[in-house]
């Protein structure tokens, strides 16, 4: 089954077109990156796919469910870690996780086990009883991703997960993301080339709301005739070519 199927997906805000007739398919278990500069339409695409914004035109199916007509089915099966970490500031790390577990219908032993699992996976033992507002940026990101994962989603959206993090925190988070690869489908937005290069199975390059290239790193390099994702990106963005690998 396809994790995501998009046909002609468009989002317009008055005069601005944020996402322009996007066609895209993401396979189950894939780690798929949406790569683009600020304002390319990455976050808007994720918002539409996670039922946070209604498409102006086109169709989008997430895990087989229509985002327009079956939002509750979609929401029950996805997790999202937004660009702003969006955690409950006055709750501790453990309480934030317990809260999200309860929101996804997990109680008692099941909730407790899931919370412990997340704390273990993201190595948050030392901050488990720390209030979220006092956490560093790196810990907040980890908590945010753990909160998105606690409902055991089949599809995880990570919107700029390493934005504003130092190099060590970024590398640590990459390890956590890599550990999830293959277990669930992950859609990641980023404007860091090395991040997309390091983590992704496939990459889509977004320019002004349009997908200009989609494929594996090798495919994108072959199409652009450039070595490395950054060079390929500059080439494709510079020429504004529309290429489908």
């Amino acid at each position: 089954m396809k994790a995501i199927e998009i046909k002609g997906l468009t989002k317009r805000y008055k005069t601005k077109v944020a996402v322009d007739h996007m066609d895209l398919t993401v396979e189950e278990g894939e780690l798929f990156s949406l790569l683009g500069v600020n304002g390319a339409g990455k976050t808007t695409t994720i918002r539409m796919l996670s039922c946070l914004s209604e498409p102006t035109e086109g169709e989008a199916h997430v895990l087989g469910f229509d985002v327009r007509t079956q939002p509750n089915e979609v929401k029950a099966r996805i997790g999202i870690s937004p660009q702003d970490t969006a955690v409950a500031d006055n709750l501790t790390v453990r309480e934030n996780l317990e809260f999200m577990a309860a929101v996804y219908g997990k109680h008692g032993t099941q909730a407790k086990e899931k919370v412990e699992e997340m704390i273990r996976i993201f190595r948050m033992e030392e901050v488990a009883h720390t209030r979220a507002k006092t956490l560093s940026g790196g810990w907040k990101r980890k908590l945010s991703i753990a909160m998105a994962l606690i409902g055991a989603p089949k599809l995880l959206f990570l919107d700029e997960p390493t934005l504003g993090l130092d190099v060590l925190a970024r590398r640590e988070l990459w390890q956590a993301i890599e550990a999830m690869k293959g277990k669930i489908t992950i859609v990641l937005t980023t404007h860091y080339m090395e991040e997309a290069e390091q983590l992704s199975d496939r990459i889509a390059i977004l320019i002004d709301g349009r997908i200009c290239a989609v494929g594996t790193l090798a495919e994108i390099e072959a199409i652009s005739g450039q070595k490395g994702l950054e060079n390929a990106f500059v080439e494709i963005a510079g020429k504004g070519r529309t290429i489908d690998a």
Partner: protein, 256 residues
């Protein structure tokens, strides 16, 4: 229901961990009762001013304290809206019912704690000043203060939904001033009469104070209790309904 309760619990923790909630919602009524009792002791009996007698003051302070719950409701909702926390929660299976219920329930709990502190303090003051304030009246005051608590929570939910984090507290400050002054907490509008009384009667705050005072004094006559209770209850339902509709509309707009 479990989602509503989970959100209630989150909001309860968020509010009770804010030191301001202890100062304004719990400490303030206690301090006001003591200060105004001292003021009352300083007023000569010949002045005939009874508004600060503990049997009148207790009900007034109980209602006045509710205005701070309104402020906290507005701040909590506006703060959640201004950050991305609420947007994140929109992507979960939570419904508007879960959000609204989750905001209202902890505020009602806060009211009950606040009201309990107020009546216990009032009872101690009544013992010291030998005032006629019965425990049964104080308990009824807490219970029959619930409609006005709902009214103020509704105002808070409405302000937090319609205004941002900076504007909502400002709007609530206006309502706090109006509520305390036109709610006749600090003066006796019935004795004053005239235009002032007419203005007070046009707003629900006057009836909030009147209901709780009558309940505490066990005066269950039509004009003193039932009529104000009916007006407060109707206003509470109307304002809460408006707040719920506004919140749902805002939620739909956020998801457009």
């Amino acid at each position: 229901m479990h989602r509503l309760l989970a959100f209630t619990e989150r909001n309860r923790k968020e509010i009770l961990r804010d030191p301001l909630s202890y100062i304004f919602c719990l400490g303030f009524p206690l301090v006001m009762l003591i200060i105004m009792t001292l003021v009352d002791q300083s007023i000569p009996k010949e002045a005939g001013m009874t508004v600060f007698h503990i049997e009148n003051l207790a009900g007034g302070i109980l209602v006045f304290a509710q205005t701070f719950i309104m402020l906290f409701t507005a701040i909590t909702v506006a703060k959640d809206r201004s950050g991305s926390f609420l947007i994140r929660m929109y992507a979960t299976p939570m419904t508007s019912r879960d959000f609204i219920g989750g905001y209202i329930l902890p505020m009602l709990l806060l009211y009950l704690i606040q009201a309990l502190i107020t009546v216990i303090t009032a009872f101690i003051i009544a013992l010291i000043t030998k005032a006629d304030l019965k425990i049964s009246g104080l308990i009824l005051g807490i219970v029959l203060g619930l409609p006005s608590a709902v009214l103020f929570i509704g105002f808070g939910l409405l302000a937090g939904t319609l205004f941002n984090e900076k504007a909502a507290p400002g709007m609530c400050s206006i309502l706090i001033s109006l509520g305390s002054f036109l709610g006749c907490i600090w003066f006796d509008a019935d004795a004053t009469g005239g235009v002032m009384l007419k203005i007070c009667r046009c707003l629900p705050f006057y009836y909030c104070t009147k209901t709780v005072r009558a309940a505490m004094q066990l005066q269950f006559t039509g004009n003193a209790f039932w009529k104000p209770l009916a007006i407060v209850s109707i206003c509470a339902v109307v304002i809460l309904t408006l707040a719920i509709l506004a919140f749902r509309r805002r939620m739909r707009a956020d998801l457009a």
